[in-house]
Structures are given as structure tokens and as C-alpha cells.
Symmetry: C2
Subunit: 426 residues, 2 copies
């Protein structure tokens, strides 16, 4: 392969960041990695928990394979299955075998996940369905599929954990374990079906919360019809992992031609984070956190942009005449965004830099509300060396170490201690 | 006026933040405020420069009054002029006297600006046109109006500065001064007209840069046709103040009904910052910073969300197959977003909280690229006490003090020292 000078330059640019050391911190981290070969090392290993890691479990792949309309999975002969997830992916001018995106074994083979965990020193993962979750299901099939998929997640976790520690003699940081966030039948015909599934998930030993996109029942998270769902999440003390899926309209970036020019960069780098921020802001503005003050929500990608924009959101609320505090005619939120951030919100540490991490910790009021994550199996290295570490993971490891170079307790808390406590892992 | 309990709660919630003390820091700041009454105090006062403060100078008001299509200014009989700035504001079902928004004297009377400065301890302001700038002008009138408006800004600054220091014996922090960012005739028929105005501005003694929105020549800031403009800005070492105006499509927030429900909160709090972030990301992706490595750009609102999202942008670039480093078929940026942030970008400190400020300082590589601003005359208190301090200003003062409670040099640098050096104020 011939590498042009410009290619080299870009590659060097990135890898100089990726391999940027803080060698000391990184080596300390590596030494502390969980290792199956060394009992001595096991005892001194920190707990490293990945709370942002996706799977398409067998039942979900079966569901997607049974469909012929978006979203669906198509199996080319002797090739990787392809997921057609967006209407724009389902382009009849493209051969069916080439439509959509490949979903290789890292998406659905749990052994590939476990190998990824070992390679990156992770000894516990809290797996969750990836988008599009169950948003697309017909009302009459939502409940059945949610139950099947959540049971499938439970069985996967149980099987892996049993194999890792048959006699149940090891502590959490000494073994390789899985827990899961369940999926909700949000398109079910009645909210009580969603509520029932939230309650049922509490009876599954390895379920530690639910994952959800930002559309809610189809109208966004400020929809009053969601109140029974918020009520059930609060009552059962179930953590909600809120994750973006729909991004922003192409027009936000300058239209389809601009999107086409830069590929996935703008929608993924900017559209996803703002989708999350908008969703939480709408919850705040509509008083969800006033009505359900004990909700617990984990925000993907360190809150999108919420930690950075919290002050601006609060200032704009205070200056909006519509809200009653200012003599307006519409009720505004009672609780401040800062209070919500420090009471109801948890953040993953998937932010790829110390700048974002410092904002996240400051907005959260401390390091005790942040939890390490990888976003696996998304953002793999584009080269084909399967044994290589993933820069999308090591960048976050290094940012955590760089941000807290004098506070080892904070590093341990973010890497695993917080997740153990908050998700009641054992 | 009867205040309901809920109103009180909201008011208390905000003011508990606004009046939150760090009393010590705030009082130290107040003691150091520039004061015309005390020569002794003057000598020890820090320089406080507001680099984000808007005016509609007389020539601009004349231009807007001469128009009958959006944007235009209408003068109701015996009432505040109204600016109809958006097509949606120009609703024929609304009486002309009530369309758009009032533009009171704080927008166009420089004495009101000076009074605001005194009230908030600011002794130097770098004034700039507010949106919609000159984006809307017919090609054949763009040059003439740009020259008239920029000459108007120059004359206003000269008059005020002459009055404040007729003998030119005071140093900058001892007097009340104005400088300005000029406007560009971006709709002119040829780029050389824009280039000529950039060069002409260097001959006006009080002009310290230019302000611009994100649409460029109409197609965004990654438009190759802008290269002569970037070239002229770089060659003349002219600072560009990049400011949002267009926000995001209503659909990004859930459609017009959602926008109507929450008033201006979502477009201002979230749409504006993302517009800025998208604009800079498009510049980066299209190689503007590779072709013009000495551009100097000041980003409004602490970069929108750029400091927080920089790592995610960089990660998404590295994982995008389109770019040549990864074997793709499209050229990607050579320089990293971190390098650009620490070389080409300056940030105002208009972010309303320590969380955002910490991200801004970390992304900028230090406190020496941040500059205090107020966004005056936007975000006034909604009560009618004209002598009150503005929470939208004091919140930022306090955030700067809270973020650097052990680093007084950083506080002084952000409040004025950086602006003095970067904008060559004297």
C-alpha cells in the first residue's frame, strides 16, 4: 500500500495524539489491568466497568432478519450481514447486498465482546441494545419482542458470569462479568405495557436499568403521556440510559450535499450530542424533573453538550418572558439545570479529551457521577489488525488519567468504582 | 403584583445562583472596578474589556429604516422602534406596530452603552454590529453601506475616546474607551470588494477586526469562494469575530409547536452554540485552517460547544473512511482540532458557568486565549429597574472568579489583559 505524504501527515497527527504520553499514567493503568494469568495481579487490580457498550443479541438479530422494511438485516451469500437502518440506506439503486452497513460479529457475538474487554483491561460490561432499539415495532408486537430480547440479555449475562465464576468465590474485580440495560416496548398500545416491562426487569438478576432513545412514545421526552413511564422508573429506582439516535436534520449542517462531502463526521460528532442535549432540555423545560425529582438518568457521550451549555440554558430560561417567574403566561421549570445535573444525571466518560471531561466533572459537581464507557462496537480502528487496541477507547482512558493526574481516587471511581456503586454490581 | 408560590420558587432558584457568593471574590472584583470618582482607585484598577457587545449604529438604523422587506425597522408612533428580523416575524396577521422585537435605546444610543459599562465596571468595549449584519444587502449596495457603517463605528469610537481623554495622558485602564469590529459587504458581486474593505479597515484607527455570521457568501464557511477573504484576513492579521445568527431548523427541536411552547430558550440556548460549532467544523473539514494556518478567529459564546466536542470531532474524523488518512477517496484536514484551538481560535468567556469555562480554558491550552464579554444589549433583566446589574453579566464575572480562585493572573488576563494584548488596544 502506497501512503501519500498527506496521508502520513494525517495519520501522524492522530497517532501523535493517540500515543501521546503521559506514559507514566498509562503504564500504571496497564499494570493494573485485570489479567487472567496472574492471581497476584488480580488481587490488586482496580475494577474497570464499561457502561456504554452495545450488542444486537440473538433475539434482536432474529427480529431484524424477519423484516423486509427499514430497519432490517439482510444476509448476503458468504458475507457479513448488513443492517439497513435508515430510509436513505434503503436505496433501490444500490444492490441489496451492498445496502446499509455491515454488522460484523463484534455486534452480535458475545465472545468477540469478551475478547475486546480483555484486550482493553475491562472486567465488567453493562451491555445494551444499539439503536434503533424497539422504536419501530408495530404496537401489537412490541411487548412480545421486548420480553424476548430482555430475556435473551439476561441469559447471556447469566451464562457468561456462571462460566467466569462457577463457584461464586470471586469478587467483582476478579472476574469477567456482564450486566445489561433492557429495552422498552415504547410503541406498545398502552403505557401500562411499558410500565409492566420496567417492573418485570427488576426480577431479572442481571438487568441494571433500561436504554432508550430520545423520541419517547414518538413525540419527544416532554410528552405528558410519558408520565407513567417516568413514574415507574422513579418508583422502581431504575436507571435510564438515554442515548441519541436520530441526530439533527441534514439542513442543520448545510443540506445533503454537505453531509455527503464529509461522511459521518458532522452527524456523529455534532448531531448526536445535540440530540441528547435537546432531549434533556425539553424534559427540563416541561417540568419532568419537577414532577419526578428522583429520576436517575445516565446520559450518553458525557451528556452530549449539556455540561458545557448548562449555564446558557439556565440563563436563557431566566430571560424567557413566557415563564411565570418573569411575568409570562407559561409555567417554566422549578428546579435549576445545575440541581438536575447534580441530583438526577449521571454521565458516561465517552468524551475523548480532558476539556470535555473537566466540564463534565464540574457540571456533575464531582467525579462521583461519571462512569467509563467505550461505545463498542462502534468506532473500531479502520485498519484490520484485530489485536490492536482501539484509539477510541485508549483516548478516553488517557483523558481520564490526564484530567486527574493528582487524584488517583477519582480515576478509580470513574473507571469502575462509581458504576459498581450506582448500578449495584456484585 | 401578586407573586405565586411557583413564581417565587423559580425566582429564588435563579437568584440563589446569581447571588451565590464567593462573596470574597466578587467583592474584590467590585473594589477593583474602574471608578471615575477615585484617582487612587484608577491607578490600581484592572483593565476590564468587553469584547462581545453589540450596537446598531446610526448608519445601520438608517439602512434598516429605509427598507420595507425583512430585515427592516418600523417606527410606531410614540413608541420604541421595532426590528422585523425574521420572515416569521413579518406576519401580516400581526399589526405592523407589534411585529418583530423592540430595539430600544440600548441598541443604538452609545450613551446607554457607556452607562451600562460604568454600572458593570467595564472601561473598554469593542463594539460590533448585531445580526443580521449586512448579509441581506443587494450586491450593488453592499460596498457603499459597509463603508458607511464602518466609518460610523470609527467616528463613534473616536468621539467617545476623545471626550474621555482629550489630552491623551491616560493609560487604557484609566479611561472609558471604545474600539470596534467592522462589518463586511459579503453580498458584494466580487470577492475583491470584500478584500478591499478588509484592507481599508486597517486604515481606520479604532477598528480591531471584523464580525461575521456563519453563512459566509451564502453557502457556509467551507465555500472555496471564500479563500480570497481568508487570505486577506490572514495577510492583514485581522481578527474575525464569528457569531451565530441562523440557529438550527425548528425540526431539530421537534418542530414549530415545540419552539412555540418554550419561546426563545431552545434556539438561543442550543441552536446558536451548535451553529457556531458546525461552522468551525466545516472550516476544519474543508481544510481552511490548512490553507490559512495564521487565521485568527474569535468565537462567540466560548466557541458554542467546540471546546466540549473537540475530542469527539477529532475522533470522528479519524474514523471516517472518506478521508485519505484512512484509505478513503476524499481529502481530510491535516491539522488537528486541538492544534487549531490553540493556534487560530480565541474564545469569549460568555458561557455562564465554571463548567463551560473550564472546558474552554482546557481546550484553548490556557487562560491566555479567553476574553470577557457581555453580549449587551441582549439578555437584559426582565424587571424594569434600569440601575440594576445584569445577571447575564454578573454570572459570567462570578464564573471567571470561581474557576480561577487561586490564579489571580488568569482572572486579570480574561477580564482585560488578553484583549489588550490580542487586539492591540491602547
Amino acid at each position: 500500500m502506497i501512503i501519500h505524504k498527506s496521508q502520513k501527515s494525517i495519520a501522524n497527527r492522530f497517532f501523535s495524539v493517540v500515543t501521546f504520553t503521559n506514559h507514566l499514567c498509562y503504564n500504571l493503568l496497564r499494570q493494573a489491568y485485570w489479567s487472567p494469568e496472574s492471581k497476584e495481579k488480580k488481587m490488586s487490580s482496580p475494577l474497570i466497568v464499561d457502561i456504554h457498550t452495545h450488542v444486537y443479541p440473538p433475539a434482536y438479530m432474529e427480529l431484524l432478519r424477519s423484516r423486509k422494511v427499514v430497519p432490517y438485516v439482510h444476509d448476503p451469500v458468504s458475507a457479513t450481514p448488513r443492517l439497513v437502518i435508515l430510509s436513505s440506506d434503503d436505496d433501490p439503486s444500490i444492490p441489496l447486498d451492498e445496502r446499509g452497513r455491515p454488522v460484523d460479529s463484534s455486534y452480535w457475538n458475545i465472545n468477540v465482546k469478551l475478547a475486546f474487554m480483555r484486550r482493553h483491561g475491562i472486567n465488567c460490561s453493562v451491555i445494551s441494545l444499539a439503536n434503533p432499539w424497539l422504536d419501530f415495532l408495530e404496537p401489537d408486537e412490541a411487548q412480545t419482542w421486548a420480553e424476548r430480547i430482555n430475556d435473551d440479555l439476561e441469559q447471556t449475562c447469566a451464562r457468561v458470569n456462571q462460566a467466569a465464576d462457577p463457584d461464586k468465590t470471586h469478587s467483582l474485580h476478579e472476574k469477567e462479568t456482564l450486566f445489561a440495560f433492557g429495552a422498552l416496548p415504547l410503541s406498545a398500545p398502552r403505557a401500562d405495557i411499558v410500565v409492566n416491562e420496567i417492573k418485570r426487569l427488576k426480577t431479572l438478576p442481571h438487568l441494571r436499568g433500561v436504554i432508550m432513545g430520545t423520541s419517547g412514545l414518538g413525540k419527544g421526552l416532554d410528552d405528558p403521556a410519558l408520565d407513567p413511564v417516568w413514574g415507574a422508573l422513579q418508583e422502581t429506582e431504575t436507571l435510564l440510559f438515554l442515548h441519541p439516535h436520530y441526530g439533527l436534520p441534514d439542513e442543520a449542517f448545510g443540506g445533503p450535499e454537505v453531509i455527503n462531502r464529509y461522511g459521518h463526521v458532522l452527524p456523529l460528532a455534532l448531531g448526536f450530542p445535540l440530540e441528547t442535549t435537546i432531549a434533556v432540555a425539553r424534559m427540563l423545560l416541561s417540568g419532568v424533573f419537577d414532577r419526578f425529582p428522583r429520576l436517575k438518568i445516565l446520559l450518553a457521550h458525557s451528556g452530549g453538550t449539556l455540561p458545557f451549555l448548562a449555564g446558557r440554558i439556565e440563563s436563557c430560561i431566566h430571560h424567557e418572558r413566557k415563564f411565570v417567574a418573569n411575568g409570562g403566561n407559561v409555567s417554566g421549570p422549578q428546579r435549576s439545570v445545575w440541581d438536575v445535573l447534580q441530583t438526577n444525571i449521571y454521565l458516561d466518560a465517552v468524551v475523548y479529551g480532558t476539556a470535555g471531561l473537566k466540564a463534565a466533572v464540574t457540571a456533575a459537581g464531582g467525579a462521583d457521577r461519571l462512569m467509563f464507557g467505550t461505545d463498542h462496537p462502534f468506532f473500531p480502528p479502520l485498519d484490520t489488525n484485530e489485536d490492536a487496541e482501539w484509539p477510541s477507547v485508549t483516548t478516553n482512558y488517557k483523558a481520564i488519567h490526564a484530567a486527574f493526574d493528582t487524584e488517583k481516587e477519582a480515576v478509580g471511581a470513574i473507571l469502575g468504582g462509581n458504576a459498581g456503586r450506582i448500578l449495584n454490581l456484585e
